[in-house]
């Protein structure tokens, strides 16, 4: 089976802050990583191909440096990598991004399954996987925690609010993966070196059939008009000492505040 995994290079969000002077995001010096949920999708794809045969193609839309994320995916066991990079794709929102990715997937053509992470760590929207599925006109199964393939039938265990749902669908389909699905492998030095020598194709808009009006800023109906730092609670009350006294003091405070 042929699997396409869509990944994104994201800034390590734990180090992203707002500049209080300018209210803009400070990205300088913030390390770039593979979106953590996408690692689960890569792992799931590699495991499926190990079991059923086939190839894993990993694709990413982003600036030239996103090639690093693709090389990491190759080191994890992906067979091929394509970087989708063009100035006219810049500033795409989730709709335009899913349109560009689906156009690249159409161009690749021969696929049984498309795997993604459930959402990207920077935007946290979870809107791209259904967008890709809609643009390709195939079913989506989101928030997957388990996957089984039997012929053309795909059985997915989904992680919902307080239950698990087992859904069956015929491939091709788009499946988005949650963190608890598997433990992504950590490639060794040898695999990393081998991945460095592999070819990462770079596709611009001329490599696929895309309508430039539906990409980038022109194809994005949403616009961020303001960013600012969240207000955080910093003035807490701290209790130390006898557990009985501290526990009672807090329970009393919660009752007085009508919280419990």
């Amino acid at each position: 089976m042929n699997i396409i995994v869509c990944i994104k290079q994201v800034p390590d969000t734990s180090e992203v802050q707002i500049d209080p002077e300018t209210n803009t995001i400070v990205r300088e010096g913030v390390p770039a990583i593979i979106n953590p949920f996408d690692e689960n999708a890569i792992e799931a794809a590699v495991q499926l191909v190990e079991e059923h045969g086939g190839t894993v193609t990993v694709i990413s839309m982003g600036p030239p440096q996103a090639e690093d994320a693709l090389r990491e995916a190759l080191a994890m066991g992906a067979d091929e990598a394509i970087l989708i990079s063009d100035r006219c794709f810049a500033a795409s929102d989730t709709l335009a991004t899913s349109y560009v990715l689906s156009s690249a997937i159409r161009q690749i053509g021969d696929y049984d399954l498309i795997l993604t992470g459930k959402q990207a760590f920077d935007g946290d929207t979870a809107q791209v996987p259904p967008g890709i599925a809609e643009h390709l006109g195939i079913p989506q199964v989101t928030f997957a925690i388990g996957l089984e393939v039997d012929g053309k039938a795909l059985t997915v265990r989904r992680l919902l609010e307080d239950e698990f749902e087992v859904t069956q669908v015929e491939m091709p389909a788009v499946v988005s993966c949650v963190k608890q699905m598997n433990e992504p492998r950590r490639p060794g030095i040898k695999a990393k070196l081998a991945a460095k020598k592999k070819n990462v194709q770079v596709w611009d808009q001329t490599c696929m059939d895309v309508d430039a009006c539906l990409c980038g800023l022109d194809g994005s109906p949403t616009r961020v008009v303001r960013t600012f730092a969240p207000t955080r609670n910093t003035e807490g009350t701290r209790f130390e000492g006898e557990p009985k006294e501290t526990a009672t003091a807090v329970i009393e405070a919660l009752i007085d505040d009508k919280i419990i």
Partner: protein
């Protein structure tokens, strides 16, 4: 935007007919043709094997925004057939926004045997309810819900559509927005109307809660947003309120739906309270030392009528199912009270709970980062402090 049939490509296979939820396709001279029931939902385009049915997308600036009016809330129905709390919250918020716009609030309810929920939606403030009742809609599935909702939106043209940012809402809203090429903002925590433009200002956290962003959809309609549960306030329920109920007849063929649900496994751990809807959450972390000590967390949660949460470490260790995980890789929660026991407070955990109204932290380590976000911090051994909290609460309650 529009939909048309490329007649030479139509082979008369009739696959589009069962796919249409609105009974809008007739065969004329062995070719498909739309009748007046067509809502341009696009379901037929996906069923067509030859690409003869073409959905045309609008480009930027091509949408006549003045044609769109009214605020819609897409209802969610819980497993027990009741209206999900987030729907009541969105109706409440919808009323405030609709008042600023001088328009009204409609609620779309899709499900099976749900007629009584129209009154519930009315009691929470809906002016109008679109009721779509069909056996295939008994449990949420992407395809039929997308087809039905897209059809309703195309026909009635609301200017704003709000959906709960639940697993259902995030799945459905994304698919519908992609089909109709509408702007969609995920996981909003604040909504307002810009007076001069009448645009919906949608504010949401990004970058793991480190950044807040305000987003506008200027050129497309409806303006769509998913909204986090527990953030908006519902109106007081008033059963004397009435709403206009519009029954929407649909024809959906089970055979044309791509997905089948084989099984639903309820998570029996902890209390019955759904984490993302809970007013109170008691969470346990690595400090519990052993899976059996979650019993202590469950006891306090049950006493307070809350839900049981967990840190990623405890879920990774297999102490508790993944449904309980709070944090950036688990669930984002916004309860009135969050009690973190034996949780150090890694950045990823804080991203999922730091917007709780009140945070209590119990931890042995006085330098644990969880204390930086806690309103009340107790430095101490959770095995002494938590039982003492249980005792103190029982005493105050007069037991």
């Amino acid at each position: 935007m529009g939909i048309y049939i490329d007649k030479p490509k139509c082979i008369g296979c009739e696959l589009c007919i069962p796919a249409c939820p609105y009974g809008a396709i007739d065969m004329v001279d062995e070719k498909a043709e739309f009748n007046e029931n067509c809502t341009m939902c696009g379901a037929c385009a996906y069923a067509c094997p030859t690409g003869a049915i073409v959905l045309e997308m609008a480009g930027k600036g091509e949408v006549d925004t003045s044609q769109y009016e009214g605020l819609w809330v897409v209802g969610e129905i819980g497993p027990e057939g009741t209206l999900a709390p987030v729907t009541a919250e969105l109706i409440g918020e919808g009323r405030r926004l609709a008042a600023d716009l001088g328009t009204d609030v409609s609620v779309v309810l899709m499900g099976h045997e749900i007629a009584d929920l129209a009154d519930v939606a009315a009691g929470y403030g809906a002016d109008r309810v679109f009721l779509v009742d069909h056996p295939t809609l008994g449990r949420y599935r992407t395809q039929p819900f997308t087809d039905v909702l897209t059809g309703l939106i195309n026909k009635h043209k609301p200017e704003i559509v709000l959906i709960g940012a639940t697993t259902m809402g995030r799945d459905l809203a994304s698919r519908v927005a992609a089909r109709i090429r509408a702007g969609l903002t995920a996981d909003c925590t604040e909504l307002s109307i810009q007076p001069e433009t009448r645009l919906l200002e949608q504010t949401r956290p990004a970058f793991g809660g480190n950044v807040m962003a305000t987003i506008l959809c200027e050129y497309t309609r409806p303006q769509m947003a998913t909204v986090r549960p527990k953030v908006m306030t519902p109106m007081e329920f008033d059963d004397s309120r009435e709403a206009e109920v519009i029954q929407v007849p649909v024809e959906i063929d089970e055979g044309s739906i791509a997905t089948r649900i084989l099984e639903v496994i309820k998570d029996e751990t902890g209390s019955d309270v759904n984490l993302t809807e809970a007013d109170i959450i008691v969470s346990g972390g690595r400090g519990l030392g052993d899976p059996k000590h979650f019993a202590l967390i469950e006891e306090l949660a049950e006493l307070l009528g809350g839900a049981v949460g967990a840190s990623r470490a405890t879920v990774d260790a297999g102490w508790i199912p993944a449904t309980h995980q709070v944090g950036q890789t688990g669930k984002t929660v916004h309860p009135k009270l969050y009690i973190a026991c034996g949780i150090s407070g890694a950045v990823q955990h804080l991203a999922g709970m730091s917007s709780s109204d009140c945070i209590v932290a119990v931890n042995k380590d006085p330098d644990a980062p969880i204390f930086n976000v806690a309103h009340y911090g107790i430095v101490g051994d959770l095995f002494e402090v938590v039982p003492a909290m249980i005792e103190a609460f029982k005493q105050r309650r007069g037991e």
